[in-house]
Symmetry: C2
Subunit: 392 residues, 2 copies
């Protein structure tokens, strides 16, 4: 159903996905973009405003990250997509030569902004910064993302909260589908004009945790184009974990095996493994840097720990003795605890480096385990150790 289904599947196409191995529903592959390959599963750090909070992109690369995310909503408000374009686009602006994905702004307008009106032609909202009024239409969201110039851009979607009832979720699906057609039309128009870097548009499947709506929406979305990948939205927004896992299992059967699936906004280490087990490939979450701001670090043997704890006062071990990040190589818990307690910025930075590497490495290891067929036993044992550690 693509305008050019043959060329979009050529080996020389700017975007492609190669499925290397499967272990049950878990997948190992490579997503190729104009800015490089992304071995999947892969965790994408979030650079909301064109910076992964507190880190330089050399550190993000050193953590093993291959693709990063930036936020359409935030960059539209500040500094403005036209300014980013005039400064050479997002890759140049944020000093990142690797692949970038920008989100649709849908989640942000529905969660951060004060919504004035959700209409079929778009969403009227007030900026969380200064209360100024704005309207996102599907066309504007594509325009913004074309100006930013990320490799992968997202169609505008309505993202209802986790507890949305069937009628609300159904209405959101309808609107999201109509917006998808408009996004695609705009994207094709702009592409035809040329002069832009190669980009691909991912649709977002919504439907909350209503099985029939998820199934229906996935089918409609896939019929709307020959997409190079699909995003799964509307999860990790407050629903119960079992509902999320069931929805992913359902979608694993509904989405094409030969294209990557991006699970938006996930997540924590345990969620990552659970989602990989259910066939997801790409992930993003602000948790590595947000947790760092709270003094929290992930460890493989002790679960999630807060460095403020008095028991770390004289602890000269690294945060996670098995970790290969720059923080664990050089700093101990006693010093990090001191920095956290004293409210020193260096704590946030050093814990961000660790947490980011932790998530990236977890995805890397999952990929290797899928490759040798040991994913499910390894992941079960990993989760057990991680959760036992947390309850100690």
């Amino acid at each position: 159903m693509s305008a050019d289904p043959v060329s979009s599947r050529r080996a020389t196409a700017p975007f492609s996905y190669r499925l290397d191995a499967r272990d049950g529903p878990a997948r190992a592959g490579v997503f190729t973009t104009p800015h490089g390959d992304v071995p999947t599963p892969s965790f994408m750090p979030v650079g909301t405003l064109g910076t992964v909070k507190g880190l330089v992109m050399e550190e993000v690369a050193a953590a093993g990250a291959r693709m990063v995310l930036a936020n359409t909503y935030h960059l539209y408000l500040r500094p403005g997509h036209e300014l980013v374009r005039s400064l050479g686009g997002l890759h140049a602006f944020m000093r990142w030569d690797g692949p970038i994905l920008t989100d649709s702004g849908g989640y942000q307008v529905f969660s951060h902004a004060e919504i004035r009106q959700v209409r079929d032609d778009g969403v009227v909202f007030k900026s969380h910064l200064d209360g100024s009024s704005h309207m996102f239409t599907p066309e504007l969201v594509v325009d913004i993302q074309r100006a930013l110039g990320a490799d992968v851009i997202m169609a505008f979607d309505e993202c209802p909260p986790g507890g949305a009832d069937h009628a609300h979720a159904r209405e959101a699906n309808r609107r999201t589908l109509a917006w998808l057609h408009r996004c695609r039309t705009r994207f094709d128009e702009l592409k035809a004009r040329g002069g832009y870097p190669a980009q691909t548009l991912f649709p977002i499947v919504q439907g909350n945790v209503h099985d029939d709506l998820r199934r229906e929406h996935a089918g409609q979305v896939l019929e709307a184009g020959d997409w190079q990948g699909t995003a799964i939205g509307g999860l990790s927004v407050g629903e119960a974990k079992p509902d999320m896992w069931r929805t992913l299992e359902l979608l694993d059967g509904a989405l094409p095996a030969d294209r990557p699936r991006y699970l938006m906004g996930v997540g924590y280490p345990d969620d990552l493994l659970e989602a990989i087990a259910r066939g997801c490939d790409l992930f993003d979450c602000v948790a590595p840097t947000r947790n760092a701001r709270h003094g929290t670090a992930w460890t493989s043997g002790e679960g999630q720990v807060n460095l403020k704890a008095a028991r770390f006062r004289e602890d000269t071990r690294p945060v996670d003795p098995g970790c290969d990040c720059g923080t664990c190589a050089r700093y101990d818990r006693a010093y990090l605890r001191h920095l956290v307690v004293a409210g020193e910025w260096l704590a946030i930075r050093l814990l961000s480096v660790h947490n980011l590497r932790f998530m990236v490495r977890l995805a890397e290891e999952a990929r290797a385990r899928v490759g040798d067929g040991s994913f499910h036993s390894w992941s079960r044992a990993w989760l057990e150790r991680y959760k036992q550690g947390e309850t100690r």
Copy 2:
């Protein structure tokens, strides 16, 4: 007057100072410590709580810093000097193998803490953190600094504010001198017990901007020991600039030429050059990182600039086109302005790297200019350009 004047001057002594060149009162030398040489003049970054705010020590070293300062008062309160000792001392704690200087705590108790009582036996004060009561005696201040293990430690001093009258300043001098004797006695006792790293104790000359008191105090302090260096306190605390320069000129004649002079708490780029011109060798100030937190950067051609300014919105030049720091090598004003306006931590970090390198390099260049006899003409031209830039 030293207990061991011969050995303290041996080439193999842990501390020594070599005066390489003079250009008028301006000096170029090398201060040798157990943790390495410090070519002077030298700007010391401040690592208040065992971290130069926001930076890793590799960045501090990359900025060219040779010796760093840490704060006795702050580290005593948090995490506590005994904990630092048990973790291997300040060098190990803050991951810095180069020379460290700890201050006396005098300036801090007189400026940050709520003073309860200034008595001849010490100062009773309330912590700025939790209001708890503490007392600094000369002996305790030496004990704390022995535990921290810096290379250069400071005698406890009373530091009156910039506007202190003659009687107040005279009383502070009397007390500072009495405390110096007690510090030295304690230092010698602890040294005799052994088991500590090599340290040297610097006295602090006080007297505000009262010429007779400065002259008298310098004489008394020098008589009290064969110090490896002398600190000049009680300046840059609110007095008028001409008073500061006159005081430094007076002290240049009063302090021995063959020992380094450390001007405490100075300063900004123009102050640094003015003080070097008057024979000072070592400097410290929190301004590079504090200014960075306010979005402010130093430039050689435009003086001090605030990156928030709208004129930087599309400015793709580095902060200071002539600068060789990591920030100027890789980032432009437009991106830095965006980070500053958005309140992103990365702004603070990148501007700290620049500001720190700016000060360190200014001292490096001053040293080279003293070496070839061009210091005074160069420094006049530099100051003129810097100040013209500021008023543009």
